[in-house]
């Protein structure tokens, strides 16, 4: 579906179901340089089970217009604006990687609106490797190749996509190269590198929170995810073995099972 935020057109996948204002809203926020496509194995389930599942393309990403937002704080405000723009008063947020920084910041800023928070491959800070940052800002496709290498665990490097016939690494590469690298990945990496408020923001979060972490995550290692989770009251943590940073694809079924239980318990769907 398409709608406007700050006069720019936003694209959000609805998981293949029409948007229905009566249903509770879940917003999925993608990672650096990526798009709504990363959530396809989570959103469709929620869309068919009593929720509005909105996997947004951040401004300047995927099918959304406008320029990429330059800071995590701006992105957090933008997510809040999305809730308003689609006519809801509250939402459940799900973030991956950079999307975790955004959703943590958003939840701390708008605690009355955010009912649950689910973090995948999250950390309180994501400082960037300077060379990787420089490659992305200079529009070098090697930045995407490096990101795809580091983002997949040793098992994920062999493939084994849950959807028969799909090959993760090439699909991720194609998503990250679908728009100009320096305008998406470059801006996003810089925003992550600049963001210093994650741990303070986490301390303000009071809603039910879930962190899904992966043992082979090189980009946001388990210990960083645990550190963030420890600052959030009552936060649940689920750790997936033999999996890298792209857990939402590498172990999509496991992620969906954990996420489903957490969200349906804490933010029930509209019963049919």
């Amino acid at each position: 579906m398409k709608f406007k935020v700050n006069n720019n057109e936003v694209f959000a996948s609805t998981g293949g179901r029409p948007f229905d204002k009566k249903k509770p809203l879940i917003i999925f926020v993608h990672g650096s340089g990526l798009t709504h496509m990363t959530w396809v194995l989570q959103t469709r389930y929620f869309a068919f089970h009593g929720y509005n599942a909105l996997a947004v393309d951040l401004p300047g990403h995927g099918l959304s217009s406008g320029e990429s937002l330059k800071s995590i704080e701006e992105m957090a405000d933008w997510v809040n604006n999305v809730i308003d723009a689609v006519g809801h008063k509250e939402a459940s947020l799900v973030g991956h990687s950079q999307g975790c920084l955004v959703t943590v910041e958003c939840t701390s800023r708008y605690p009355e609106k955010i009912k649950t928070l689910s973090l995948m491959g999250g950390a309180g800070a994501i400082p960037m490797n300077p060379e990787l940052l420089s490659l992305a800002e200079n529009n070098d496709p090697k930045a995407v190749d490096l990101m795809m290498d580091w983002a997949h665990g040793p098992a994920g490097h062999f493939g084994g996509h849950p959807v028969p016939g799909l090959y993760h690494i090439n699909t991720g590469t194609m998503l990250a190269k679908s728009r100009t690298i320096q305008n998406t990945l470059g801006v996003d990496f810089r925003a992550c590198d600049n963001y210093k408020n994650g741990f303070d923001a986490a301390k303000k979060i009071k809603c039910p929170t879930l962190s899904i972490l992966a043992t082979d995550d090189k980009m946001c290692p388990v210990k960083e995810g645990k550190k963030l989770a420890s600052l959030i009251d009552g936060s649940q943590v689920d750790i997936i073995d033999n999996c890298g940073h792209m857990m939402l694809l590498e172990e999509a079924d496991r992620v969906l099972t954990v996420l489903k239980k957490f969200i349906t318990t804490n933010y029930p769907p509209l019963s049919s």
């Binding site: 194995l41 469709r44 389930y45 068919f48 995927g62 490797n129 490096l146 290498d149 090439n170 079924d253």
Partner: protein, 443 residues
């Protein structure tokens, strides 16, 4: 000691490693080092909710082996990884891969621009069968790059060709034809059976969909039929209104828009969800496993195929019984320079040559070689020969044969990986027999 900082390099697996490992994780399959053959029709659902989720494409998994199968899935991922594609769908043969590609792309009333130099079966599909479904085609000679542009109509949905034409070895200028297709907002589909991803990766040169008959070099041992379509993931189906079945809500899946939901894998998802469901040309797990065995040695075999082919080109070019030789490695081949660019790892192992004495000599040659096998296949580990005018392309009339670039003296040779001296010795037997009819008729 140097204090130079080590350059960051991606450590994703490379071609030879992917040939052996891509698409398979032993720890998820009882530790089985070899890919298991899932010889089953169907798969248990955890509960009703799980079943509904699989049918609605809410989660990945298998339902019924016509739609997908874990062994076939490994093959699909492996080929996608080798091609640099986002997704792949294996089929029961190369022809079914082409048919499924066309039926996923087109509807009645649509039009395709097609290279004229194709495998005979493919020509008949485009010329005779697809019109029965309301899909019309305009044929263009593969070297007539401008002709592809001129043939595009308002209702044209794609361009299709074999990178290296069958059997004449004409090469399509893929980068230029891809540009023509993309300027018109349509995809380029390439049959890259002759090349395999070891010799050429069409996505790097602008192709959007690649099809293979895996029966040939990919499987490599003449044992199993299989085909595949592979998606490059770059084509934007939403850029215009030409592809409503990709972009508009699809009734068959609760209003799903394949392009919106699946982006760079949308074509494959539609081909599977709709095409495999409705047409059902599924690959058997046993044949998928056989092809996987072949792919494990793809690069080793292709090197030998290509080196033997180049030896045979030299031998045939200097032979008194040979009128002409066509292979992209020959410097005077019209596409020699293009071949160097598109096929840097070797020019393939298909050779066409003309035998002096015409059709009678050709028949005598074919009937007398002992090592080379006379059969309707290419890309076996063994050397294969056929006389196209009386074999693979025999269903064509005289005019169509001429348009397809075929002549009665042409022999198609698929060079195997036997010892090169044994192949040459065998050909000497064939050439001696081929000269006899002429000696008799001259007396």
């Amino acid at each position: 000691m140097s204090d130079k900082k080590k350059e960051l390099k991606p450590n994703t697996y490379k071609f030879d490693t992917l040939s052996l490992h891509a698409g398979y994780q032993p720890h998820k399959n009882a530790g089985s080092r070899q890919v298991p053959i899932y010889q089953t029709t169907s798969y248990l659902f955890d509960d009703v909710d799980h079943a509904a989720a699989l049918f609605n494409l809410e989660r990945g998994g298998h339902i019924y082996s016509r739609i997908s199968n874990p062994t076939v899935g490994v093959l699909e991922e492996r080929v996608a990884s080798l091609e640099g594609g986002t997704a792949a769908l294996a089929t029961s043969s190369g022809m079914s891969a082409i048919f499924l590609t066309v039926m996923t792309l087109c509807e009645a009333g649509d039009h395709l621009v097609v290279s004229s130099q194709l495998y005979g079966g493919t020509v008949n599909l485009f010329r005779l069968t697809l019109p029965k479904f309301g899909i019309k085609c305009t044929f263009v000679k593969p070297r007539d790059t401008e002709g592809f542009k001129k043939a595009i109509q308002k209702n044209t949905k794609g361009i299709f060709g074999e990178l290296v034409g069958n059997p004449g070895n004409e090469i399509m200028n893929m980068p230029e034809i891809a540009k023509i297709a993309h300027d018109a907002g349509i995809p380029l589909m390439v049959d890259a059976t002759y090349q395999t991803p070891y010799l050429c990766k069409p996505f790097e040169h602008g192709a959007d969909i690649v099809v293979h008959s895996l029966t040939k070099w990919m499987a490599g041992h003449g044992s199993s039929m299989a085909g595949i379509l592979v998606e490059g993931g770059k084509f934007d189906w939403m850029q215009n209104d030409k592809f409503p079945t990709m972009t508009k809500p699809y009734e068959g899946y609760h209003g799903l828009s394949f392009a919106e939901e699946f982006g760079p894998t949308a074509f494959t998802m539609k081909a599977r969800a709709e095409g495999m469901r409705d047409f059902g040309p599924c690959l058997s797990p046993q044949n998928a496993w056989n092809v996987l065995q072949g792919i494990e040695t793809l690069s080793v075999r292709m090197k030998k195929h290509c080196s033997n082919a180049e030896e045979m080109v030299k031998y045939l070019s200097n032979h008194e019984s040979v009128a002409w030789v066509s292979h992209p490695s020959v410097p005077d081949h019209p596409d020699h320079q293009l071949a160097k660019k598109l096929l840097p790892n070797g020019r393939g192992s298909m050779i066409a040559f003309g035998i002096k004495g015409g059709k009678d000599a050709g028949v005598a040659f074919i009937n007398n070689v002992k090592l080379a096998s006379h059969l309707a296949n290419v890309g076996d580990t063994r050397t294969l020969v056929i006389h196209p005018a009386s074999g693979t392309h025999s269903q064509m009339d005289e005019a169509t044969l001429k348009f397809a670039g075929l002549s009665h003296d042409m022999i198609r040779l698929s060079v195997g990986i036997e010892d090169i001296d044994d192949i040459k010795n065998d050909f000497e037997i064939g050439f001696r027999a081929a000269r006899k009819p002429r000696l008799v008729s001259n007396q």
